[in-house]
């Protein structure tokens, strides 16, 4: 095992101050979170942080030697750029350890006005190869890139051999199957753009209805699923929906599964990854606590050379099934 691999950083989600504290208490090295508006990609009702809550959260994290990464990772609406720019200012003022950005204009703005602020390139920027990453590093001085969930472990290793910046990869949670930040499926069905409004499959356009023995979910009026009482219910996201394409009837894009790459921690470490990320800012503090604790245990086991217990989080996942996703090439 290389020395670098031992220092894997665990990056954990928090949608509320309670989940934030749960993540820190369960052993997060860093927590990522967002302000309670359209500047972040989990802009769901009842979620996220006011400026005061963010200040308190950062204080709590720093008292416990953990870092705070603030996601300002939607694409500023034309004519309202100031709101995103102000979010970056506030993050810097409140003492965030880094901001996670996706928009070129915002990266440019942040790099020029806050030269001391650490910039991470969001997964929403879909920087999927060494050239794209080199561009963000050279032009904006980005220090870390969150890799899109379309790469194999081998490809991640190849990227890390070519670049100087750190990479962060998702290891658990919801799995986007499209290049992130470049998908307007939800927008096409609902009129709310994930890129601009910060919510994929917004709850305001979701409808669940019991029809006979089946639970039917609709997004913007389009039927996405129809499941019997015995089946697991999925999120109403289009890319996990059941459709008909030619003779094929089923999950045209992806099964309702969640990513769980706990068993790939050694390979990801050897591939030169700096940080492992858990998805789920929209989940409860119970989820945060359980997943963070489990992954922290796995990282500690790996660092100590012990075997990693995998698969213990299946109950928490969509479809109650997990996949290692694109990390294995057969996924494509």
């Amino acid at each position: 095992m290389s020395a670098r691999a031992k220092d894997l950083e665990l990056i954990c989600p928090a949608g509320t101050p309670a989940a934030f504290r749960a993540a820190i208490n369960a052993g997060a090295h860093a927590v990522y979170c967002g302000f309670n508006d359209e500047t972040n990609a989990r802009n769901f009702p009842g979620l996220n942080f006011s400026r005061e809550e963010m200040a308190a959260a950062i204080k709590y994290a720093h008292q416990h030697d953990a870092k705070v990464l603030i996601a300002i990772n939607t694409f500023p609406r034309a004519g309202a750029f100031w709101r995103w720019s102000k979010a970056v200012d506030d993050a810097a003022r409140l003492g965030a350890d880094a901001v996670i950005l996706a928009d070129l204009g915002l990266l440019d703005d942040a790099a020029r006005r806050h030269p001391g602020l650490r910039l991470h390139v969001s997964v929403q920027a879909a920087a999927a190869n060494a050239d794209a990453i080199a561009f963000y590093a050279r032009v904006f001085g980005a220090r870390r890139v969150v890799l899109p969930r379309v790469l194999t472990v081998q490809e991640i290793a190849a990227i890390n051999r070519e670049i100087d910046v750190e990479t962060e990869v998702f290891v658990f949670g919801g799995l986007c199957v499209m290049a992130e930040g470049r998908c307007s499926l939800s927008s096409y069905a609902t009129g709310k753009s994930p890129n601009m409004n910060g919510a994929c499959s917004p709850a305001s356009h979701v409808e669940y209805r019991q029809e006979g023995d089946e639970l039917v979910s609709r997004l913007g009026g389009f039927a996405i699923h129809r499941v019997s009482a015995a089946e697991a219910a999925p999120y109403p996201t289009l890319c996990k929906g059941c459709f008909q394409a030619g003779d094929y009837k089923g999950h045209v894009f992806e099964d309702p599964v969640s990513l769980d790459a706990a068993s790939l921690i050694p390979q990801l470490a050897e591939a030169g990854v700096t940080a492992l990320k858990i998805e789920g800012r929209q989940r409860s503090r119970a989820y945060t606590e359980a997943v963070v604790r489990s992954f922290r245990r796995a990282l500690d086991a790996y660092a100590a050379g012990r075997p990693i217990a995998a698969g213990e989080l299946r109950e928490l996942t969509e479809g109650q099934q997990t996949t290692s996703g694109a990390y294995r090439k057969t996924w494509r």
């Binding site: 720019s85 879909a126 561009f135 050279r138 307007s184 069905a189 394409a245």
Partner: protein, 305 residues
């Protein structure tokens, strides 16, 4: 009195047509279609390109003879090493302008080269437009999901930066791109062993809901709208906003008729209603939408106001 209010750009062919169909299509466009610019080359899947690559030089030559300016398309999602090499080579040639459809290509831009930004690059605001313009972008085909209010702001920003704004005016709307091939998946195959099944569907494979509603279309690693984006009824307000150019995205059938319908409507020679009627004739199977322009769901269609 008629005036030319817009330039028009033929976008890159999104679908996997045979080499012969590819050559025939561009020959007809070159000789008959009233378009100013043609973006040509593979933007969806690098596995398709070898089948028609040898037809591209002749197509370009004929298009230029037909008075069109030619722009080279680039891949929408660059991941493999050979795709990166191809992207680099696009900027090593200097005869033709390049349209960037993945920010990977920004790594190869030289200070003195100007280029275009395609509809798959996230240009949502004036700061991003300004940044790219300072790097050499001269034309922006905006993301199709942008509402009119954003288009107006971006036109103003483009004017300040000496660049032109183009909008997605016709054709199935590209909604998503993935590392996974859905055409292959629907046929029980994977991307690496896809047998090029996407060639069977000239305008994409229909995706319906389990209740039978038309919804999306799969095109290899790309997902498109079922409905064809169509702004022929909205040209007045686009002209007033200062939009310079309309993008028409190729489909099977009589596409020259589509380009003529837009040219005649754009110049005021025929009414938007007559233009729409011509489009219905040219593409009888197509359903249309313009909801994105109104900040509504993309699938909605509002009659011209």
């Amino acid at each position: 009195m008629t005036t030319k209010r817009f330039e028009s750009t033929l976008g890159p062919l999104q679908f996997n047509w045979s080499a012969a169909a590819f050559a025939d299509f561009y020959a007809r466009i070159a000789d008959e279609a009233p378009v100013d610019r043609v973006v040509i080359g593979e933007s969806v899947c690098s596995k398709r390109e070898p089948f028609y690559a040898d037809r591209i030089p002749a197509a370009i030559e004929r298009l230029e003879r037909g008075g069109k300016s030619v722009v080279l398309a680039s891949l929408a999602l660059v991941t493999l090493d050979r795709e990166r090499r191809a992207a680099r080579e696009l900027f090593e040639q200097t005869q033709h302008e390049v349209e960037i459809d993945d920010l990977t290509l920004m790594n190869f831009v030289r200070p003195e080269t100007s280029f275009s930004i395609g509809p798959l690059v996230n240009v949502y605001n004036e700061a991003t437009l300004g940044f790219l313009a300072r790097q050499g972008a001269r034309r922006f085909c905006l993301p199709p999901e942008l509402p009119f209010a954003s288009v107006e702001v971006l036109v103003a920003a483009a004017n300040v930066n000496g660049a032109a704004v183009e909008v997605w005016a016709y054709g199935r709307i590209p909604l998503a791109i993935s590392g996974r091939c859905y055409h292959a998946r629907a046929h029980g195959l994977s991307k690496d062993s896809c047998r090029f099944v996407c060639e069977k569907d000239l305008d994409g494979l229909a995706v319906r809901t389990l209740e039978g509603a038309e919804f999306l279309a799969v095109n290899g690693v790309q997902t498109l709208s079922h409905k064809y984006g169509n702004l022929i009824g909205d040209l007045d307000r686009l002209a007033q906003a200062g939009v310079k150019s309309l993008r028409l995205s190729p489909h099977s059938g009589d596409f020259v008729a589509v380009t003529r319908a837009f040219a005649a409507t754009a110049s005021g020679e025929i009414s938007p209603e007559d233009g729409l009627a011509l489009l219905r004739q040219a593409a009888p199977e197509a359903e249309f939408s313009n909801g994105f322009l109104f900040g509504d769901c993309g699938a909605a269609f509002f009659p011209s106001a």
